[in-house]
Structure formats: C-alpha cells, structure tokens
Amino acid sequence: MVAQDSAIKTQPIVINMGPQHPSTHGVFRLRLVLDGETVIDVEPVFGYLHRSKEKLEEERTYLQTLPITDRMDYLSSMTNNLGCSMAIEKLANIPVPERAQYLRVIMAELTRISSHCFAQGMQLQEMGAWATPLMYFIREREKIIDLFEMVSGARLTFNYIRPGGVSQDIPPEFIPACYKFIDEMPGYIDEYEQLLVQNEILRSRTMGVGVLPRDLAINSGASGPVLRASGINWDLRKQDPYLVYDRFDFDVPVGQHGDTYDRFMVRMYEMRESVKIVRQALDQLPPGPVTANLPIVIIPPPGDAYAHIETARGTLGFYMVSDGGANPWRFHVRAPSLINLTALREMIIGHKVADTVVIFGSIDIVLGEVDR
C-alpha cells in the first residue's frame, strides 16, 4: 500500500470545449475528459441552436416550408431546398420538367463546391493555418455565391429550387458566367493542392488521426465524405440516382484509411468531380419550361414520402407525412451533420486536444443542421 502511494497520482481534468470556442463551428459543446493532453472521454452536447424547425414546418404550407429549410444547413441552402422539394414532389406526384432537373443538378453541384470550399478552409483554420487557406477558399466561394445571386437574387438563403422545378429560369448572363467559373476553378484547386496537399505539417497532423473504421462508419450511419473516406463507395448520385445524375460521367472519390487526411482529400477530389458534372450539365442543358404550373397552396393526398439526396455533408433525407391538408402533418429531417457526429466519440478518444478540433472539423458539420 505504501509503495502504491508513492507513485505519482494523476487526476483527469474536465474541459468544456464550447459552447463558445473558436473552432466549434457555432454553438456546440464538447465535454472532454483529459489525461494530460490525451482525451480519454468525450461527450458532444448540442441543442444551443435548436429552433424546432420541424415544428415550424408543420404550421406552414408546403411552399412556405422551403425558406425555412434554407436556414438548416446554411452553407448549402440549395440542396436543402432540393431535398425538401423532392419529398414534396414524391408526396404529391408532381412532375419536374427536364430543364429544371438540369438546373437543379447545376445548383446542387455548385453548392457542393462552395460548401466544400468552406469546409476545407475551416479545417485548415482549425489546424492553425491563420486564415490564409480559408481566404483562398472563400475567394472561390464568393464567385459561386455571385452565380447564385444571379439566378435567385439572394446570397445565402436562396429559396430557388421549388416543388415542381425551380422558381424561375436562369438569366441569360448566367451560362457564360458559370462557364467562366468552371473553367478557372480547376486551376484554383491546383493552387490549393500546391499550397496544402504535400505540406508535411498538414500530412502529419491528419494522417492516421481520427480513424473511422469501415464497419463503424456503416454502423454509425455516417454519410457523405465521412463515409466514403472510410472506404465505402456509397454515393446516392451513383447508387440511387435522382434527378438526371445517371446521364453524367463522373467518379466518386473513395478513401481507404478513414482518417482525417482521407476526408480532406475526398472533399478535394469531389470538388473536381463537381466541376466536371456542372460542365456536362451546362453542355446538355435542354430548353423548355423550368417549373410545373402549381398552385400557391399545394395539397397532396394523404400518405407519407421519404426523399433523400446526397449533399455536401452526406445523405439529407426528408420524411413527410400528409393528412390531406395544406400543411405537412409531420416534417422530419434526416440531418447528415447530426448523424455523422454519432461516431465522434470513437474517433476522438485517445488523441490529443489539438487533434480533437481537427477531427471535429473534418466531419464538417453545420450547427444549424445539427440542432435544426
């Protein structure tokens, strides 16, 4: 007993990382239990941004739900609109004109690029790269936002994709502007890769850090780049093609190790693939109407419908139940940000405090979607 007492006693300390912390992407709390610098337990606590969107949607007509979905994942509003519109279309059997489908693809892929840009920039910011990569990434994001402003008139919450198509046709100046952007975007991605990808500090910070094993990735319901970095080739655009994605030629980047570096690189490659898709969609863009003529108040028959799409963060699903009224009876969102967090504990435990923020950033959540 005496011998045991002579050993140095240590005591784990508890740190609340957040709700206000420079790298928690909003108001999010990680309750870390530390042994020195090593994390031995972690519990994510959230809900600080809970606005009960699902309840709000139940009190609005189907068209009015769309501006509210904008506010969930505010970095990729277009795809939120898309998912919600697809669920409503499924519920009410609304056909979508072909041109609208192409426009939706263009918008969704541009959204993916802009969202990944922001994610990569924030990831580097969390590694301590003092905002330089973030500024470079935001430079491109601004251009995409300019394109979105051109078509929808807003810069963040677009409310552009509607049930039955899109709210209005693209203006004539959009197509040359979009071509110009996708022509120069690969050059910018090259620039990022030159800046970042071979950087030894970045590689040693990310390789082997925050490994999400294959089985755990599937079991914990991860989706999007997080799932694909773990070596699972599951992209709804390929496996369950919606819209007109089966008409385009693109690859789905898949990692092998499931670590932070793979997640980083998968996003990097996805940007290139998205540029390819946008180019093909612009080339094939057919003429025609962009919206089905719908009344302002859509009244679907009773029943339920589930639609899912692949957003920048993963599988975004909308489950809607209609009771035959003008408002959805139940409006459930399968939020990829929330569900990707499920395996956060397993990914972080055993790593250092400094890795915690990097791993957390590599999941790329948006708190508006986690809490809704």
């Binding site: 809900g47 809970h50 899912h308 599988t315 699903g317 489950y319």
Partner: protein
C-alpha cells in the same frame, strides 16, 4: 439504383422468420409488432442476402391515437432499401425497443425522438434529452404541445 422493397416483399421477408410479427402491410412499408422490433432488426441486419447494415433514418409521427416510429433501412451491400414501422400506444409513456445495439446510428436519433416526441426507447444506454434541456416541460413535436409560452421555456434558475 437502390431497389426499394415494397410492402409485400418486405412482409414476405420478415414473415420468413417472424410469421406473426407483421401488424399491417402498407404499399411501401410494413408495420411490425413493437415488442418484436429488436429481434426483427437483428434478423434484417445479420441475415446474408438482406444485410440491412445501414439505418438511414429514424422518424416518428404523432397520429394522436398512437405514435409511429419509422425506420428507413438500407443495405449498402445489396443496394436495396426497406421501410419498417412500429406503433406505440399511450400518451404517457409510449415505449419502443431500442435498436442502438444493432445500429449505433440510432443513438442520437432515438434520443432526438425521445426529446422532441416523447417516445421512450427501452434499452437505450443513455436516453436523455439531446436538443432541449433537462426539465423542459413537454415534448414539442407532439400535436398536443400547445402554445409557445415564454414562461414555460425559460431554463430553471434563470
């Protein structure tokens, strides 16, 4: 293209092992007996050829008479999907067996449904509120959750 198994096919699959487990067969989904949920889920997850290894989402609906919990299962290997539903009766403490031990992804989703809809998932290791704070009166997504009352939602001690 993900093959969506319709209600009849799904019923046939489940009935192979659980002949009396099906309550109702709907067009695109089946309603199974609530007490058998964990067993059915384990069967669907483990059986080769079905291998529903990916639980895409859990949603719950308040139908006033009863609560319905919807499980959207996907098999990443076979690339097919299936929707199973269970019903929970009673407004005080509707109970549904937890599937966390089968799909870890159910962890946060079941906590969310517990928090917002008030469905108790028996067997969940850490069933506590996730979005709202402990002691929040009521469950906001229920249809009988009435008015937005500032007096009710201020945290205790504030």
């Amino acid at each position: 293209m993900t093959k969506e198994l319709d209600g009849l096919t799904a019923a046939e699959i489940v009935a192979r092992s659980f002949p009396d487990g099906i309550v109702e067969v709907l067009a695109s989904s089946i309603v199974i007996r609530t007490d058998l949920l964990a067993e059915v889920a384990r069967y669907l997850h483990d059986t080769p050829g079905l291998s529903f290894n990916y639980l895409e989402g859990i949603a719950s609906v308040d139908y006033i008479d009863y609560f319905e919990v919807v499980y959207n299962l996907v098999s990443l290997e076979e690339n097919h999907s299936m929707v199973i539903k269970v019903q929970a009766y009673g407004r005080e403490k509707p109970e549904v067996p937890s599937v966390v031990s089968i799909w870890k992804t159910a962890d946060f989703q079941e906590r969310e449904e517990y928090d917002l809809m008030g469905i108790v998932f028996t067997g969940h290791p850490n069933l506590k509120r996730i979005m709202l704070w402990e002691g929040f009166p009521g469950h906001p997504l229920r249809k009988d959750f009435l008015e937005f009352d500032h007096r009710n939602i201020a945290p205790a001690g504030d």
